[in-house]
């Protein structure tokens, strides 16, 4: 296929991914609203041990679950996998069309990052009882891709010489992977905060916290590596490994904030809500670095390619 055809195909696949993620979200949401209530005995024990003691609501008599609800959930899961496949194929065809790593500008970066986030979710839900995180990951992925297509879109093409480097493969790939993990951690942390104690169809607070922690613990070294390899690249490209360029400043702030989260967890008394809030602050820093710095501040990292 010619590069132009591949580029068009890539655009169509990304659109398909948006629709499929939306479908996944709806499927999950239907099962959430009408499906079986999960048991939360274990969680209640955890609450009395350490969590903030919101008043436990009287366990309401569970409504009869709709018989079709599990099917809706199944459709949701299937749509999520299909959306993932479309997202992955979209990134792959873009890479083939431009004959380089497909994360050379902000549009491509965001598409790849959401692909990473959905990948992380799909792997997680195999091991942890957090399938319904999917409803929220689905929304985030659909909105994120929509934003990428509407606001950040750039025609497929070569990158400026500074970006034409094997460091893209190293540095940006690490940033994409870490961001994908952090997104899932952020969604879990946000859900932790909005979810009340007590019975609910949502994953239990303990599971949400465990997932958020798990994901951040994996992401943090990768993010550290992304920052360090960025410094190595800057040393090659600009003659200094650290120059407090706005992008670097915010990568540093993000790193410090996640380190603060890990310390907060490691110190007694900061489990649960407080630690989750710290992790969300860190996540906000990550997002600001991605969107805010590129669009509002600028600096040497002007690869954003956003008009």
């Amino acid at each position: 296929m010619s590069p132009d055809r591949l580029a068009t195909l890539s655009d169509q696949l990304v659109l398909a991914a948006i629709l499929l993620y939306l479908a996944a979200m709806i499927g999950y949401a239907l099962e959430l609203a009408f499906g079986r209530v999960t048991e939360t005995v274990r969680e209640r024990r955890l609450v009395t041990v350490g969590g903030p003691s919101d008043d436990l609501p009287e366990p309401a008599p569970a409504p009869e679950p709709a018989s079709w609800a599990p099917k809706a959930g199944l459709v949701g899961t299937a749509a999520m996998w299909l959306g993932w496949a479309a997202n992955a194929a979209g990134t792959l065809t873009r890479g083939l069309a431009v004959d380089r790593w497909p994360w050379g500008n902000m549009y491509e970066f965001v598409v790849a990052m959401l692909l990473a986030a959905v990948t992380v979710f799909l792997l997680l839900q195999i091991r942890y009882p957090v399938r319904f995180l999917g409803a929220f990951v689905g929304v985030v992925a659909a909105i994120g891709l929509g934003f990428a297509v509407r606001v950040l879109y750039t025609q497929a093409g070569p990158v400026v010489p500074a970006l034409d480097s094997y460091w893209v493969a190293i540095h940006v790939t690490a940033a994409v992977a870490a961001s994908g993990l952090f997104i899932v951690g952020g969604v879990a942390a946000a859900l932790f905060l909005v979810r009340k104690e007590g019975p609910s169809r949502l994953p239990s607070r303990a599971d949400l916290e465990r997932v958020a922690h798990r994901v951040i613990v994996i992401a943090f070294p990768i993010w550290t590596f992304a920052v360090i390899s960025g410094a190595l690249w800057a040393d090659k490209a600009w003659g200094r490994y650290w120059g407090w360029d706005p992008k670097e400043v915010w990568a540093f702030i993000t790193w410090v904030a996640y380190a603060a989260y890990l310390h907060a967890r490691a110190t007694a008394g900061w489990k649960g809500k407080a630690a989750m809030i710290v992790s969300l602050i860190a996540f906000a820093c990550l997002m600001f670095n991605l969107v805010g710095v590129n669009i509002f501040i600028g600096g040497l990292h002007s690869y954003a390619d956003v008009k």
């Binding site: 010489p161 550290t224 090659k236 003659g239 410090v256 490691a266 600096g299």
Partner: protein
């Protein structure tokens, strides 16, 4: 640094706390986890203004513009070092406190850890079935011990029990990580003191020798003297750039550029060819030279009113617009007689007419022209006031020559224009290109790299390894295995299940061997 303050306040402290008591109290507060957390947050918070306000170390021009646009506000910002956040006293105060805290944290933990490493695992608790992980299996103590040792557990045995422990690498990694951060800070400091940075603009055909005088901007560390500069030199033979052609959304975006240099690593060394590209700096004796910008330098021959050639050479133009490389130049001709001359120029690499004006539509020099606005009078170069070569501003003694047009007809290469009032003539003789280079020497960069690598390694160990213990006790006929992890996270449950299976398997295999 806060110690002297603390000494003074001794009198008002809680009863019974002497100087030593206060110092100890201060140290304890400083090295507590809570303080470390607060300092971490403060550090993040303190770097925020560094990204919102222009920084002198990054973009001095933007700071100057800020002062021009809003002098009062700029002065206030400057009073709080908000244009130099990362070298400001308050930023330094935070990170020095943090690193003091880090030292105070790492030292005692290292001694504790060394002791821990030498200690044998504790004896098995009486009742293993109270542990979070436990199982009754078939087997015997001897085979369990042998198996655990073969899997590199630290093992001790007692009367009727085996005790094993694993995962000290977690704390080792954690200490390694925190120490690496300290080393990183030191390496950055060393680079700042013993390194230097210089910027220079070089036109095709010209040379550069690494001396302080040759730089347009030179920023040495405080421990660097001019004799320390590596004595390399080079000539810029050629510069080439290619751009995305018409028809693409990104028309005019550079595809590749490179500069061909003839380099001498020292005055006596043989000449070597080097192709300088973005991401591929020139290395000479530990100093690295980077290609960071480029532009056009049209060449002119200018004759004064007296008929003598007063100027001949290239004039580097500043780029106004990187998508078209429309550039601005200033030509000062102090040698022109009877009156000094000056010109403003507008260089258009790919010129097309547009109404009554002319535009550049592409960065490549497909149809290079210059528009010229001539002036005559006194350039004031003798006054001794330093002037920018890129600026005619502030020359009250210059008068426009003839009728000033908003968009004069551009000159093509080879064109000659006679100046009004018999002031002389100007000839556009050709087009060269210039590049801007940055040379850096930073003896801290390699130690910083090593420290970063160590930090990642330490981080991985400290986050992925878990400290865990297992005990085996005989109990009528079979044995009980109990397990405990001292750090949360991980899936010790799974590992424990596998371990018990393996222990049984191993015991059975040994029985077979014996029989």
């Amino acid at each position: 640094m806060t110690l002297t303050d603390e000494e003074k306040t001794t009198g008002s402290g809680p009863a019974g706390l002497g100087v030593v008591g206060w110092l100890r109290w201060g140290w304890r507060v400083l090295t507590s986890m809570r303080t470390a957390l607060i300092l971490l947050f403060l550090l993040a918070l303190a770097s925020v203004p560094g990204s919102l306000y222009p920084q002198r170390g990054v973009d001095p021009g933007a700071v100057a513009r800020y002062f021009q646009n809003d002098p009062t506000k700029a002065e206030w910002l400057d009073r709080f070092s908000l244009f130099d956040v990362f070298t400001s006293p308050w930023f330094a105060a935070i990170y020095l406190l943090l690193f003091l805290s880090l030292i105070g944290c790492v030292l005692p933990r290292t001694t504790v850890h060394l002791k821990e490493m030498r200690r044998t695992p504790p004896p098995a608790p009486r009742n293993l079935s109270r542990l979070p992980h436990h199982a009754d299996i078939e087997g015997d103590l001897a085979s369990a011990e042998a198996y655990l040792r073969s899997k590199r557990w630290r093992v001790t045995t007692g009367d009727g029990w085996v005790s094993a422990e694993k995962g000290h690498l977690r704390e080792t990694g954690n200490l390694l990580f925190h120490v690496a951060l300290l080393v990183l800070l030191v390496a950055v400091g060393v680079g700042g003191l013993f390194g230097y940075r210089g910027n220079v603009l070089v036109v095709e055909g010209d040379g550069f020798a690494n001396t302080v005088a040759a730089y347009d901007r030179y920023l040495p560390g405080s421990q660097v003297s001019p004799e320390d500069l590596q004595p390399f030199s080079f000539t810029l033979k050629d510069f080439q750039a290619t751009y995305i052609g018409p028809g693409h959304e990104k028309q005019g975006q550079p595809l590749d550029y490179y500069a061909k240099l003839a380099v001498q690593d020292s005055p006596t060394a043989p000449e070597r060819e080097f192709t300088l590209r973005v991401n591929e700096p020139l290395e000479a004796d530990g100093a690295l030279t980077y290609l960071i910008g480029h532009g056009y330098a049209p060449t002119f021959r200018i004759t004064g009113g007296d008929g003598k050639v007063a100027f001949e050479g290239a004039v580097p133009c500043l780029v106004n617009d990187t998508s078209t490389y429309e550039s601005e130049c200033v030509i000062k001709v102090p040698d022109a007689a009877p009156e000094q001359l000056a010109f403003l120029g507008r260089f258009l690499p790919s010129t097309v007419p547009s109404g009554t004006e002319w535009l550049s539509i592409f960065p490549g020099a497909a149809n290079p022209t210059v528009q010229i606005w001539p002036f005559k009078g006194d350039l004031g170069l003798d006054a001794g006031v330093p002037q920018s070569v890129y600026d005619l501003g502030g020359h009250q003694n210059l008068k426009p020559l003839g009728q000033m047009s908003a968009s004069p007809k551009p000159m093509a290469v080879g064109d000659v224009v006679d100046l009004p009032e018999g002031a002389g003539k100007i000839e556009f003789t050709g087009v060269k290109e210039w590049i801007t280079l940055q040379t850096t020497y930073d003896p801290g960069r390699f130690p910083a790299l090593l420290a970063s690598g160590a930090a990642i390694l330490g981080l991985l160990l400290s986050l992925l390894i878990h400290r865990r213990r297992v005990w085996v006790r005989v109990r009528d006929g079979g044995v009980t295995v109990g397990g405990l992890t001292r750090t949360e996270g991980g899936d010790f449950g799974e590992e424990f299940a596998e371990l018990t299976k393996a222990l049984e398997h191993h015991a059975r295999a040994e029985v077979k061997d014996v029989s």
